[in-house]
């Protein structure tokens, strides 16, 4: 479902606009050019000890690259001793954290310790270059914007130049010692190695070598690589770099259906993981295989599984539950639904394979592997850091190691690879997840709910994580946020635990809670607002709205303490301009109703025949009693001030909600919500071809929109005609003709030259309301019959006789009258004028008998004024029955016709963001039918009758408490309707109701029928049975705010983030490919953002 506003076409046209290209002048200061990947290095002046011992003043210093752990140690040292009370982080350097051999050894003329900096090696694929950025080894808390700077590695070239590295490189890694960066090149099917020291030395003299990949026979492999991963740096600090790279590299070759383990020093393949056509992976220890030569020498690729993404994680921590270090490689194939995890030995060579099939015919385009996580833990305790809190690694939910995979169905799939070893379903409808407690078994179950174990929320594409709106994920990584101090509980920006960050095509970078150690693990019914289930569960998009636990309460100071009291007049209830949903901080609290123009439920009566004093006789959304210190009054069950149980019941799935949505419940309302400037679920005002032939009348659209609209049999089709005052609406050669007898002034598009001829034969059509019933609906065609003119107050169980219809019409007419003045009783309605009625089956409406207006001529079908005189209404007489449209001669409708489709005999619930939700699909013949497999909450109609709620139906009928303010009468002999003092009273009564649940909310529509009044307005003693008061044009609106809004990293200007990488100290590095280089607006050739996982507001932007 999409939602967007159109541009308004209000600007005069430029008379001559070139159709050629748009010229652009890139800003001269831009250093990056469409970055796709980044690797990290540590470089500087280092004491050379040979490693493994403390340094001495005799040890020489050398300028060299070194394993990144050296910089990490200096960053730790710079953090000093953390003092939460020192907001300036001015703690002295903790020199005890210096790496072994780099101790602080003052020695005149010599450095006292190493001088190292971090470097980011930013890969730019199209230009085949590596840009370099640098920053000091600082802890996250000391990072500020501007700390990281792009550097110029070629002073002889203007601007901050990069290093030419290869042809179409697909990824970059550093080798085991941190001395070389290696790229895999799709353009030349080889590797490039960059000597980091040569590139970062002063002056830079980058040494780039090409490294062929060879098999066991020494034959060159010329397959195109798609991804590269390297073992994390683990070399010795205190030695100078060797002349060749070290360690094992993994390169994915989709065309060869293999992932090869390659010796970084020689390019020789050591082993490989090979995929068969079914996606099953095996370890092939024989390095002597060949691949199609995709680069230069011919060789066609054959079909097969295409491994294309990699992630390698060394989890070296040990504890009782994990007694040995683990090293694992995750592999995704872009045409296989199996995620593959390979256990590696100490040399990082493959030893065992685990494969987990994911649901559906999907492929995986990016993968991220987490370390082992002990699931669970709350309220600021970093349960996952075993060195700090729990040496045993248990208990809570137990150990999990998740792989996150970007899938081709537009979701991010999750699977556990060590414990339950199955896909985790992230889309379970929270309504079905009740009764879980904080025992280890429950936490374990919720940590990875088996795929398809429970019903999913309506609209779920599958088990994967769905981003918001139309965003599609591009990449994912997992970071571990370990703040230096306790964070504010439930603060959206307070990251503590494991989180996945997901880049998306729409420019967003989303955050997913893998294991949020700053939030509850299960729903706690004693603290429901602090434990919203969609926020409790792992693998859910992170929420960005604060203070979800707020209640309608007020804190009253009382001396040295304060008291919290319930209130009913919460600030929102006064209405106003509404919340600013564009700001991070403007929305707070749980979801609740926001008044529209001061009304909790805004009501529109259209051209209703009902007096305002009778409004309470119409169906409405249930109200409940709010008892506060400030007031006692009825409030909507959706309101913030409603009792907590009502609020919670009203919004059962926070994640399914839009952050701000207005819902309209319109009786017999349109099935679409779009205007000419919005797109949600299709246009209300449609254009189609009306065909009249021997088979009847039908409306046809080539786009076949009707099942998508949710049309059901007997829905109403209104041919809208045209406005003669709006030029150009009928197309060239046609005119908007208004028949002189038309009571409505609505015209119809007709051939301009034929109006005189067609006026008479088309008269009945032209003067009618042109309302039809769609007897059958297929995706491209609606068959129409004229809609009968019926009495709105026909009992929902059907009429019994024509006389009953007459009585009900008289009663209905009285609803339009103001109540008598001076406390007088209601007049006897039997004196009201009336039409002639037949009580019979209505071919244009299914169900029981209807009161259908009888006639002998058109005049019999008009509205009656108070004197009983007929006023033409657009209903015309056809075969003794009044109808709202006639089947016209074909020539009357030969031009394209505007029309609308409305529901029949039901409220239509339609959201400003969700649109009209329905279960209608097309069957094999194209007929619109209800999907038998649809979620029971995928409904958008509320009829006035429904099965009892005890049947489990939705919607369903019940009797329920309704609290409202009603007139209070103090009858006297001559004034039976004299109002009391006060003139109103709050009452709670049992009311008939229809309970309705859609994916976002549940509520009761009370009083679908009304018994009528006997003496005074609102006395409910009329004795009418099953008589409704609704009428076309009656609509209610509610606005629900503080629904779900996903937390996104606040990256200004990100246009097309293509990749995200976990960086030093759990920093998050986002590569943005940029946008069009505009001379008139801010744009770039791409950016790289560094975000601190624990301080997501601290962002370094490179461009």
């Amino acid at each position: 479902m999409t939602f967007r506003k159109l541009l308004l076409a209000a600007i005069p046209l430029a008379s001559l606009v070139s159709c050629g290209t748009t010229s652009s002048t890139p800003p001269s200061t831009l250093a990056l050019d469409r970055p796709i990947d980044v690797a990290f290095a540590c470089f500087g002046s280092l004491r050379i000890t040979g490693g493994g011992r403390m340094g001495t003043t005799a040890d020489p210093f050398a300028t060299t690259a070194t394993p990144i752990e050296a910089c990490n140690d200096y960053a730790l040292a710079a953090a000093g001793v953390v003092d939460p009370n020192d907001s300036n982080n001015n703690q002295p350097i903790d020199k005890t954290k210096y790496p072994l051999g780099q101790e602080d050894l003052p020695n005149p003329g010599q450095p006292s310790t190493a001088t190292l900096n971090y470097y980011a090696l930013i890969l730019q694929s199209v230009s085949g270059t590596v840009a370099v950025a640098t920053w000091q080894p600082l802890p996250p808390v000391k990072m500020i914007a501007g700390t990281v700077q792009v550097m110029d590695v070629d002073p002889l070239q203007p601007g901050a130049s990069g290093i030419s590295i290869g042809d179409l490189p697909v990824g970059i890694v550093t080798d085991r010692n941190g001395c070389f960066a290696v790229t895999a090149n799709a353009g030349t099917c080889d590797l490039s190695t960059l000597d980091i020291t040569s590139a970062l030395d002063t002056p830079p003299n980058p040494i780039v070598d090409r490294l062929d990949v060879t098999n066991g026979n020494g034959d060159v492999i010329l397959a195109k690589p798609a991804a590269i991963a390297g073992e994390p740096t683990s070399g010795v600090i205190g030695i100078e770099c060797q002349k060749t790279p070290a360690g094992i590299l993994y390169v994915a070759y989709p065309g060869c259906h293999r992932v090869a383990a390659i010796d970084a020093a020689t390019g020789k393949i050591q082993s490989s993981i090979v995929f068969d056509a079914a996606g099953t992976a095996t370890i092939d220890p024989d390095p002597n295989f060949t691949c199609p030569a995709e680069c230069g020498a011919g060789g066609a690729v054959v079909a097969g599984t295409r491994p294309s993404s990699l992630d390698l994680v060394d989890d070296l921590r040990t504890y009782l539950q994990k007694p040995a270090p683990t090293r694992r490689l995750a592999i995704g194939a872009d045409n296989s639904n199996k995620v593959t995890v390979v256990d590696l030995d100490e040399q990082h060579l493959p030893t065992a394979i685990t494969q987990i099939p994911l649901e559906g015919a999907i492929g995986l385009t990016d993968v991220a592997l987490s370390p082992q996580i002990r699931m669970g833990g709350t309220a600021g305790d970093i349960e996952d850091d075993f060195t700090l809190s729990d040496a045993n690694g248990g208990p809570l939910g137990g150990q999990f190691q998740f792989v996150y995979a970007v899938a081709t169905d537009g979701t991010v799939r999750v699977a556990d690879t060590i414990n339950v070893k199955h896909e985790c379903d992230t889309q379970i409808d929270p309504r079905t997840l009740t009764g879980f407690t904080a025992n280890p078994g429950d936490i374990a179950y919720l940590s990875c709910i088996p795929d398809n174990d429970k019903p999913r929320r309506a609209g779920a594409k599958g088990p994967g994580i769905q981003l918001v709106g139309d965003a599609r994920p591009t990449a994912v990584t997992i970071v571990h946020a370990v703040p230096t101090s306790l964070m504010t509980p439930a603060n959206p920006s307070a990251f503590m635990g494991y989180f996945a960050t997901i880049t998306a095509t729409n420019g967003g970078v989303f955050v997913v809670n893998v294991d949020d150690d700053n939030y509850a693990d299960v729903y706690d019914p004693t603290q429901p607002l602090s434990t919203w289930l969609p926020l409790v569960l792992p693998h859910q998009l992170r929420d960005r709205i604060k203070n979800r636990d707020t209640k309608a309460e007020e804190v009253i100071p009382e001396g040295d303490h304060s008291t919290t009291v319930p209130v009913c007049n919460v600030s929102e209830s006064v209405g106003g301009a509404g919340p600013d949903v564009t700001s991070l901080d403007s929305l707070t609290d749980g979801p609740h109703l926001w008044p529209i123009a001061g009304q909790e439920v805004a009501v529109a009566l259209g051209n209703a025949a009902i007096d305002l004093s009778r409004r309470q006789e119409l169906p409405t959304i249930r109200q409940v009693l709010c008892t506060g210190m400030d007031a006692t009054k009825p409030v909507s069950e959706l309101a913030f001030a409603a009792p907590l149980a009502n609020r919670l019941a009203s919004f059962p799935d926070l994640r399914a909600m839009h952050v701000d949505e207005q819902w309209i419940l319109a009786w017999e309302g349109p099935l679409s919500n779009d205007s000419s400037t919005e797109h949600i679920d299709g246009q209300v005002d449609r254009i189609g071809q009306v065909i009249v032939d021997g088979t009847g009348m039908r409306v046809v659209e080539g786009g076949k929109p009707f099942c998508e609209m949710g049309v059901e049999p007997f829905d109403e089709v209104i041919l809208k005609g045209c406005d003669p005052n709006a030029g150009g609406v009928c197309g060239y050669g046609n005119t908007c003709f208004v028949h002189p007898d038309s009571p409505t002034g609505v015209g119809s598009c007709m051939p301009a030259n034929d109006v005189g001829v067609l006026s008479d034969p088309c008269r009945e059509f032209l003067i009618s309301q042109r309302h039809y019933a769609a007897t059958t609906a297929t995706s491209g065609e609606l068959r129409l019959i004229p809609r009968r003119h019926v009495l709105h107050s026909t009992p929902i169980t059907g009429c019994a006789s024509a006389d009953q219809c007459t009585t009900l019409e008289q009663h209905e007419r009285q609803l339009n009258d103001e109540p008598p003045a001076n406390g007088a009783a209601l007049p006897d309605p039997s004196s009201e004028p009336h039409h002639a009625w037949a009580c019979e089956a209505d071919p244009s409406r299914p169900g029981p008998n209807q009161c259908i207006m009888q006639c002998t001529k058109d005049e019999d079908c008009g509205d009656l004024d108070d004197a009983g005189k007929s006023v033409a209404s657009g209903a015309v007489c056809d075969a003794g029955r009044c109808v709202e449209g006639v089947i016209p001669p074909l020539q009357c409708v030969e031009t394209l016709q505007r029309y609308e489709v409305h529901a029949s005999q039901a409220f239509v619930m339609i959201g400003s963001r969700s649109g009209y939700l329905h279960p209608i699909i097309a069957d094999a013949n194209g007929t619109c039918v209800k999907d038998p497999n649809a979620s029971p909450t995928l409904v958008g109609r509320i009829p006035l009758t429904a099965p009892a709620c005890t049947t489990g139906a939705n919607p369903c009928s019940l009797t329920i408490d309704q609290t409202e303010t009603e007139p209070a009468y103090a009858p006297t002999t001559d004034k039976p309707c004299e109002l009391a003092d006060p003139p109103s009273q709050i009452v709670t009564r049992q009311a008939p109701a229809i309970r309705f649940s859609n994916p976002t909310m549940t509520f009761e529509l009370v009083d679908p029928i009304y018994p009528g009044d006997q003496t005074c307005v609102g006395d409910r003693k009329g004795g009418l049975i099953d008589v409704p008061t609704v009428f076309p044009g009656y609509a209610m609106s509610v606005r629900i705010v503080s629904g779900f809004q996903s937390y996104a990293l606040p990256l200004a200007g990100a246009a097309y983030p293509i990749n995200v990488v976990r960086g030093p100290q759990e920093s998050i590095w986002v590569e943005d490919e940029g946008d069009f280089l505009s001379t008139t607006s801010v744009s770039t050739r791409g950016r790289v953002y560094r975000v601190e996982a624990t301080l997501p507001g601290t962002i370094n932007t490179l461009q």
Binding site: R4, V301, T365, G410, G507, Q689, G703, G728, Y732, T895
Partner: protein
């Protein structure tokens, strides 16, 4: 959206008016000196080639010379004989690497042969058109290979239609009641400039800047977009009758609030030939796709029926939207839509398969970052699955993208300056690219397994110096 077409604003062109300023047609009857095919009297050279199209039997390539600098007094439609082109490539790519007559080896790209275009053109078939032709659409009229070209011509402005007639062994373009081929100038009967009845000066003229064209051969219509007005024109193309502009809808798209720029750009049909083919139209200033169907009421001209629209929200919607659509193509029987936008520069892949409700899903699936200022795209399957090729006007490159399962750039091909349009020959496994800024047609080898796959193996025309 207004259905009344706006009056056209005729461009006061600066076309050379001297009778002798004719395009470099050469002398039709001259004998081409095999040792000097570009001799002054015989040379027929490309000049600002823009739109290109291939015949359904892949025997000829139609090239629109736009005459963009108005050096000559008209544009021209050339007919490139692909059999001859293939013969030259075969010789060149053989082990002997035989250069064609008058051809040279590209000094920068050893796999590329550069040849004069004259010997490969059916010079007697060419016709002259208005200036600034932008695209070429092809309607298959019958199984004998007779075709009709539909060409948006900005300079007139008109929608020019030209018949490709096969008569025995003769083949020629015809857009003149009295002449065929031989550089005949298209007459007014073949330039559609007014709605319904071109001969009636009271009828509204077409809007400015006809830009792109989609032709549905089976359903006998073409839709032309207009870059300067956001309009779409429907051309009724009865196979045995006179084409006419039967309907037009203006205001399909709105103007950019800041610049006032407006425009309907790329157009393509989801399932050409099907009874209810849905035609998708992209915009220059909006991130929106508008759909149309064509209806033919009884005894009425064919009409454009505007259907639903959808926004391109999948890409860049958090950074100001994704707009300036320059190319649209459908693959997999209409189940996939490939779209290139300049902002952000992306190939966007949409799922346009029919959903459970019988309506195209129109859901974004994935996107691939591409070059800046892309102009057109084409889909080609040379035997190992669909590939998308994108002309990168500014960079002189063609991007080759494997769109499967998320999509990835598989090659970046240096192709020449100002690549504008491209078409593929699946049977020959070639891609033809018009290089607007250097007056050449580049031929790229698409054959899987070929050592020159995704490389320019032949450049026709002497590259004009910058």
């Amino acid at each position: 959206m207004l259905r009344a077409p706006a009056l056209s604003i005729l461009i006061a062109g600066c076309t050379a008016s001297a009778a002798d300023v004719i395009p470099p047609n050469g002398d039709v009857d001259c004998h081409v000196d095999p040792n000097n095919p570009n001799s002054a009297s015989c040379a027929q050279r490309f000049f600002w080639p823009t739109g290109i199209a291939i015949s359904p039997d892949e025997s000829v390539l139609f090239v629109a010379d736009a005459n963009s600098d108005l050096t000559y007094n008209s544009g021209r439609i050339d007919v490139l004989e692909l059999t001859k082109v293939e013969e030259a490539i075969t010789s060149w790519t053989s082990a002997s690497h035989t250069l064609g007559t008058g051809c040279t080896k590209d000094t920068d790209f050893s796999e590329t042969m550069i040849c004069p275009e004259t010997p490969y053109l059916d010079r007697q078939a060419s016709v002259l058109t208005g200036n600034f032709a932008t695209a070429v659409g092809v309607q298959a009229k019958d199984s004998d290979g007779n075709l009709r070209l539909v060409i948006p011509v900005r300079g007139d402005p008109s929608i020019t239609w030209i018949d490709w007639v096969k008569s025995g062994t003769d083949r020629f373009l015809q857009c003149n009641g009295t002449e065929v081929g031989t550089y005949a100038t298209c007459d007014d009967d073949h330039k559609l400039t007014r709605l319904r009845d071109d001969s009636d000066p009271t009828q509204p003229g077409i809007t400015d800047e006809p830009f792109d064209v989609f032709v549905d051969s089976v359903n006998d219509f073409a839709i032309v977009t207009h870059l300067a007005s956001g309009s779409a024109s429907l051309v009724d193309l009865p196979k045995d009758g006179q084409p006419s502009i039967s309907d037009a809808i203006s205001g399909v798209f709105g103007a950019d609030p800041q610049t006032g720029a407006i425009g309907a750009t790329a157009v393509a049909g989801r399932d050409p030939g099907s009874p209810d083919d849905i035609v998708y139209v992209g915009a220059r200033t909006e991130d929106r796709i508008q759909t149309f169907t064509v209806v033919r009421p009884r005894d009425q001209p064919a009409l454009l029926q505007a259907g639903d629209f959808f926004f391109l929200n999948t890409v860049g919607s958090l950074a100001g939207g994704s707009r300036d659509t320059r190319g649209l193509a459908f693959g997999s029987g209409g189940d996939r839509m490939y779209l290139i936008n300049r902002l952000p520069p992306t190939l966007q892949i949409y799922d346009t398969s029919l959903g459970p409700q019988g309506t195209p899903k129109n859901e974004g699936m994935s996107a691939v970052d591409i070059c800046r200022d892309a102009s057109r795209l084409v889909l080609a399957d040379s035997g190992d699955g669909d590939r998308v090729y994108i002309a990168c006007f500014d960079d002189g490159q063609v991007y080759a993208i494997d769109p499967r399962d998320g999509g990835r750039v598989t090659d970046v091909i240096s192709v020449g300056r100002g690549p504008y349009d491209l078409v593929a020959s699946p049977s020959k496994k070639r891609l033809y690219v018009s290089n607007y800024l250097e007056n050449t047609i580049a031929v790229i080898d698409l054959a899987p397994g070929s050592p020159t796959r995704n490389r320019v193996v032949l450049r026709l025309g002497e590259p004009k110096k910058p």
